[in-house]
Symmetry: C2
């Protein structure tokens, strides 16, 4: 791997649940020598992509990332453009709606509009969703190029609940169904008791860049409700895609 790739791998070791990591730990997990890891961290720190807590000497992500992310968000305003549409979809369906963007083999939750109901699904911004096992992921795959789907299906998949689809032929069927009707449906594939309807959001080149999903308690959804949520989700996703590519 390139030196740059190794440096970025170090950045990717930090998560919501583990935002500060020590040198030896970082080196071990990245599969790098301690000296190498430190040199890379210093290079990143010089540009404020990494900071070091002076007391504990542990490392954390730096302010430069916030700066770069803001520049990107201003130019590629997925969240800004999608937020009102998501809000409307949430009001229309009465359920929690969340938006995610594809990044590094998974979907990253960027925005959430919570249902007003007491019994609702809660989703965290920043949560990383696997492509299999979530409605958003299946919708994303269904809109992806065939070669990308094939490549993804070759790798092993983790089961999150007893309902998670991990077998390749099951996934192929689910993806085909989602592709044919425009939205995906997933019951308890990622978390027990959660039913989701997903729809892909497309970029200017027609390739999917992310997805949105309507998430409900399973008890509240039957086939009719799912169908109406699906149509609403597709409308919303289409609207967001259009706004992104500069249309109306």
């Amino acid at each position: 791997m390139s030196t740059v790739g190794k440096a970025v791998s170090l950045l990717e070791l930090f998560t919501l649940h583990e935002p500060e990591i020590g040198l030896s730990d970082l080196a071990r997990r990245a599969g790098l020598d301690k000296a190498t890891a430190r040199r890379l961290l210093m290079a990143l720190a010089a540009h404020r992509l990494i900071e070091q807590e002076p007391k504990s000497r542990r490392y954390r992500l730096g302010a430069g990332l916030s700066r770069l992310a803001r520049i990107r968000d201003a130019h590629f305003p997925l969240v800004r453009l999608a937020a009102p549409v998501l809000r409307e979809l949430s009001l229309e369906t009465g359920e929690t709606v969340h938006l995610s963007e594809f990044s590094a083999g998974a979907l990253l939750t960027l925005h959430v509009e919570l249902s007003a109901k007491a019994n609702r699904v809660n989703v965290d911004v920043g949560q990383v969703l696997p492509l299999h096992g979530t409605a958003s992921g299946i919708a994303f795959l269904a809109a992806s190029r065939l070669e990308a789907v094939s490549a993804y299906l070759e790798k092993p998949r983790q089961a999150f609940t007893a309902f998670t689809m991990t077998r390749q032929d099951d996934l192929v069927k689910a993806i085909a169904l989602a592709a044919s009707r425009g939205y995906s449906r997933s019951a308890q594939g990622y978390e027990e008791g959660v039913h989701s309807i997903g729809a892909a959001i497309l970029g200017a080149d027609g390739q999917p860049i992310g997805a949105l999903a309507v998430a409900s308690p399973v008890s509240r959804v039957d086939d009719a409700v799912a169908a109406s949520q699906g149509e609403a989700a597709v409308r919303a996703a289409t609207m967001i895609s259009a706004r992104l590519t500069g249309e109306a």
Copy 2:
């Protein structure tokens, strides 16, 4: 410079005003060979820190940055904790208030609370403020370690208006005054017609991490108003510092 440093330099070429850049341009501005720039861009793109517009083949910042920035923001919630305090300060003073974080030798504007008045100062999120010539910067320097200030004062400074302080002894005086009373004052040092009061925000180790500022049209500020804005700004900055370090 390290390979990693060069790669990050490429990222830093993108700005709010120029969010997409072509290969030759990037190489030229970074002082790199075209082939080198491309290899670095590919390494960054593999981790989604860079994306390439398929049509124009120009490069832009990638979604991975948004992801990393969100992880950092969740753990180091300067904006989240500061926002309500800034809002209150804006209401109290009736003026525009903005928050900035130190990054790579300058202050990066992270959040703005606009005045409700028709004649107000407008500030953009993402704007980069120089340490000299802005009230925020002087306040930041006044709270910094002496060696950091000295190092900064050695480098040449740009004048933005006819009022920008660029002479070293003027700056030393302004910094000393700000240090003694807790807030800084700057009139038209960065933009004509704008008067600002700045106060530094400190991290857990007592070192400054950023600053806030109250920005008003010069016509609305006399010494008495400046003094009351200064006291309010110091109170707000202290409150934010305390929240950041875990206190009430």
